[in-house]
Symmetry: C2
Subunit: 318 residues, 2 copies
C-alpha cells in the first residue's frame, strides 16, 4: 500500500517507515524537520519506494497536495514536548490539534479513508483507575500536550463518523529504543556524559512510569491495523509493568558504569501536569494477540546503548 507518514523523520515515525519499506510498501515521509533527524532516514533513502517531502502540517495546501494517491496516513507528527507546554501554550494547539485537522482535511480532499494516530496516555490526566483502561472515567486534562492530543482524537473520531473514515488510535506510554531523542533517559545520559559524578532528577524519584520499546510499538500498530475492524479503534499501548524513576536511574547508571550523587528537585511530580503514576491497561490490544517482546529494563538498556553510540543526538537537539 501507499503510506503517507507525517513526522516520518522522527523517532517513532522513522522506525515505522523502515518497517513499512521492509514489508514492501511505498512510503512518502512528510516532515518539517523541527525535531526529525536526517540520519534517521539514511536507511529509507536507499529504497526506491521512499520519497521525502519537507513540509509543515500548518501548510495545509502543501500537506494536502502531498497526500494525493495515498492509501493510508500514519499521523505521527506532533509537538511531543509534554513538559514545557506552559512555556509556549500555542504550540500544542497548532502542531497537534490544528495539524491533525489539516491531515484530516487533506484525507477528505484525496479520498483517503484510513488513518493511524499516535495519541498518548497523557490524555488520562491523573486517572484514579490504574492500570488505566481505554474506557476509564472521563478524564480531566492536566497538560496542554494531553489536551491537544485529546482534541486530535476527537477530530479523528468525528471525521470517522461523518466521512466514513476508519481510524486506529494508539495511546502510548513513553516509547524507548533506538533513535530516542528526548525524555528522561536522554536527559540522564546527557548529564552523566558531562559529569558522571552528579545527576539532577526532577521530582523525588518515586514517580512510577511505564515504557514500551519502539519496535514493540511498531509491531503493535501494524498488528492492530491488521486485526481491528471497528470504524474507530482505540488502543492503549504499553507493557504490563512499570518502573520507578529511581529504578530507571539505577539501570542507566549500571549500563554506563556511573555512580553519581543524586540531586532531587523534590515533590512527587517532575513538572506541571506530570502524572506520578502511569500504567495503562493494555488488555484490549493483548486480546488481539500482540504482546511486547522486551521488558522495560531491556528497553532502557537498548536506549542507553543507542545514545552512548550516537552522541550526535545531543548536538542535533541542543
Amino acid at each position: 500500500m501507499k503510506c503517507f507518514v507525517t513526522g516520518g523523520a522522527g523517532f517513532i515515525g522513522s522506525s515505522m517507515i523502515d518497517r513499512l519499506l521492509a514489508d514492501g510498501h511505498q512510503v512518502c515521509c512528510y516532515d518539517n524537520m523541527s525535531s526529525g533527524q536526517e540520519r534517521f532516514l539514511d536507511n529509507a533513502r536507499k529504497s526506491a519506494d521512499f520519497t521525502f517531502i519537507l513540509g509543515d502540517l500548518l501548510d495545509a495546501e502543501k500537506l494536502a497536495a502531498s497526500m494525493a494517491g495515498s492509501d493510508i496516513v500514519f499521523h505521527f507528527a506532533a509537538n511531543a514536548d509534554v513538559r514545557h507546554g506552559s512555556e509556549h501554550p500555542r504550540r500544542d494547539l497548532d502542531q497537534n490539534t490544528i495539524g491533525t485537522y489539516n491531515v484530516l482535511a487533506g484525507m477528505l480532499a484525496h479520498n483517503i479513508r484510513k488513518i493511524v494516530f499516535s495519541s498518548t496516555g497523557s490524555i488520562y490526566g491523573e486517572c484514579k483507575v490504574v492500570p488505566t483502561p481505554e474506557d476509564a472515567p472521563f478524564p480531566v486534562q492536566t497538560s496542554l500536550y494531553g489536551a491537544s492530543k485529546l482534541a486530535g482524537e476527537g477530530l479523528i473520531s468525528a471525521f470517522c463518523e461523518a466521512f466514513q473514515i476508519r481510524a486506529w488510535i494508539f495511546r502510548f506510554v513513553s516509547i524507548l529504543g533506538e533513535r530516542y531523542t528526548h525524555g528522561h533517559v536522554y536527559d540522564f545520559c546527557r548529564q552523566l556524559f558531562e559529569d558522571p559524578g552528579h545527576l539532577k532528577v526532577l521530582g523525588d524519584g518515586t514517580q512510577r512510569k511505564s515504557y514500551l520499546y519502539v519496535q514493540d510499538c511498531v509491531d503493535a500498530i501494524l498488528h492492530a491495523l491488521d486485526k481491528a475492524t471497528e470504524r474507530v479503534n482505540i488502543f492503549n499501548l504499553g507493557t504490563d509493568e512499570y518502573v520507578q524513576v529511581s529504578d530507571s536511574i539505577a539501570a542507566i547508571c549500571k549500563e554506563l558504569g556511573a555512580t553519581p550523587k543524586l540531586e532531587y528537585s523534590g515533590g512527587d511530580r517532575g513538572w506541571i501536569g506530570d502524572n506520578p503514576f502511569i500504567l495503562l491497561d493494555c488488555s484490549r490490544i493483548r486480546t488481539l494477540g500482540w504482546k511486547p517482546k522486551f521488558t522495560i529494563n531491556e528497553s532502557i538498556i537498548k536506549t542507553v546503548k543507542f545514545i552512548d553510540q550516537n552522541r550526535w543526538v545531543f548536538d542535533a537537539r541542543s
Copy 2:
C-alpha cells in the same frame, strides 16, 4: 464584579447578561453578531453598567484587549450548529476550539483567573451509560461540534493546571425558552406557521432527548459559581426527565392548535452524530442545592409562545 461575556448577544449569553446586570454586576458583551440578535440586548442597553464590543473570537488581539480589567469570563460564544458540522468541518474548530484558546490567552494576558464555559452533553457521544454522569466512560466523539467542545474543555482544564485559573464547565442538554433561535422547536414552529397541515420530522420520532429552561440554566450556572470550589468544576446541566420527539411535537401542536400530517425522514437519528437518547445524570449539581423550576413540557410551551410572539426570529436567521 466585572463580567466579560462572549457570545453575549446570543440566546443563553443575553439571558445571562440580563441576570448579571439585575444582580448589580458590570458587563461587557463581546459578540460577532453571526448569530447574536441586536434585540436580545435591548434590555441590557438600558443599563449604564453595560458595554458592547463587536468582535470575533478569531481576532485574538481585539479579544484580549477587550478583556482588560475583567474579573471573570463567561465564555458562551460558539458555533452551535451541531447538525450541519460535516458541511463546514472547519467552523467548529475555528469558533469553538481556537476561539476558546484565544479567550484563555486573553485571560492570561490580563491576569483574569475565572472562566465559565458552556460545553455540551454532545461530548458524551453515544454513551452506553444513561443517565450519563460527568465521569462516564471515556467517550468516542461522534460529531464535530462535540469534538470541538471537548477540545475546549481540555484546553481550559490544562490552562487551569498550568496557570492557576479556575473554571466552571457546564455540559448542557439542549436549552429552551425565550430568545431560543434554533433547534427542533424552532424548526417545527416555522414549518407549522407556513403550513399547519404538514410537518416534516428528522428521524422516526422516537429519539429521546432532555431539555432545560434557559432561566433554570442561568440559575444553575450562578449557583455553581457560588458553591463549587474546585480548580476545575464540571457539571452536567439538565432536568431529570426526557421526552420523545413525538411528545414534543404533540405539545407544540397543542399549543398552536395545529393537527399536521407528520412526515418522518426515518431512522433512529435525525442527522450524522445525532444521539438517539440523551439524558444526563445531574446529581452532581443537584447536591449543591440547585434544581430546575420548570419541566420540559413547560419549557416547550414557553418556547412556542416566545416564537409565536416573535416571528421576526425567522427573518433574522433566514
